[in-house]
Amino acid sequence: MAVRKNQATLTAKEKRDFVDALLQLKRLGRYDAYVSTHNRFIVSDTDNGERTGHRSPSFLPWHRKFLLQFEQDLQSVNPAVTLPYWDWTADRTATAGLWADDLLGGNGRSGDNRVTTGPFAGAGGQWTITVRPDSRDYLRRSLGTGVAQLPTRAEVESVLAVQTYDAAPWNSSSAGFRNQLEGWRGVNLHNRVHVWVGGLMGTGMSPNDPVFWLHHCFIDKLWAEWQRRHPQQGYLPTAATTNVVSLNTAMKPWNDTTPADMLDHTRYYTYDSAF
């Protein structure tokens, strides 16, 4: 069984394998499809229309499936690789090991936010941004400028304490665990981390920055943790609901996977520890 680990505990070889697999997918031309798919859902998921990947109950199972598919793609390059997660409540500065040259590389430089260090630096020629909102073809970050602080452990605890998974109207204005984790309401967890990293992570094409996978892996872990703490609660809505993916409705773009299929992550992988 594959074990997903905290990035801070990876060995040098595990880091190298993960980075090499990312670069290989990019080289093979398979990486950018994930960026396109993500943005396609970002722009079509609306509060009053059909919504699948974001601002809706299926935010969590949709990204779980999206990460699984990507992880399997990485494993086709190197079967030993699993997605690491970034616990941003612990590694919360621009100098954390995550941003070192042996993993994701550092902050963008001042002036144009261009990442100039590590494996994904534009000048290295290995990470040209092709699916992008504007003319710039290099990875950009601006750590801690869009918002100063990453969420704290206490803030995460407050969201994990929310009893109900989600609630009508099942969008960005909903009460419930999912929307507070996604960040449109409450202390703002997931959205805030995108803003804290800045650059391409603040856009609909956020998977252009490999930190996307580590961030969403942690979001996925927090969902698993909420499930562990609230065994009497479950995915909502269970009944068919207009424009919303209910428990047994297949999710686009796969059309063969329902939220129910995604509820038990241990069918596919486990996490190295509880939160």
Binding site: S36, N39, I42, V43, S44, T46, D47, N48, G49, R55, D112, N113, T130, V131, R132, P133, D134, S135, R136, T145, G146, V147, A148, P169, N171, S172, S173, G183, W184, N188, H190, N191, R192, H194, V195, G202, T203, G204, M205, S206
Partner: protein, 130 residues
């Protein structure tokens, strides 16, 4: 909203980074007219998001106007352009706005969103979404 306050501060800080940029900011936004209130960010688009703006902000022309219904836009009956190129925007259920370049950070009005996009673009040109 704390983030909005922080963002305004950030914008101000960035404006002061270069003399040329600072001059643009000090002169203010050159308002090119058209309908709707102009000049004051808070008033530039009402809660309905149906006002029009057309101004030069930090050297970029930003325009916003209601889009015809049946327009291809999702989640917004409003269109925003930066130097004539479309900025994909969306309205949240609570009336706030996001764009493809500030997707995770709601802004109060389309004008505030367009200005944030100019800051984010740092002179780059928007390209059609693939």
């Amino acid at each position: 909203m704390p983030e909005a306050g922080h963002h305004a501060e950030l914008t101000r800080r960035r404006m002061l980074q270069g003399a040329g940029v600072a001059l643009t900011a000090a002169v203010g936004t050159a308002v090119l007219g058209l309908a709707g209130p102009t000049g004051t960010p808070a008033a530039a688009a009402g809660p309905g998001g149906h006002d029009t703006f057309d101004e030069v902000y930090r050297g970029r022309r930003i325009q916003g106007r209601p889009a015809a219904s049946g327009h291809h836009h999702h989640g917004a009956d409003y269109t925003v352009q930066v130097d004539g190129e479309e900025l994909h925007v969306m309205r949240n259920a609570d009336g706030t706005w996001i764009s493809v370049v500030n997707h995770y950070q709601p802004h109060q009005t389309p004008l505030a969103l367009a200005r944030a996009a100019v800051v984010e673009l740092q002179g780059a040109t928007l390209v059609p979404i693939a």
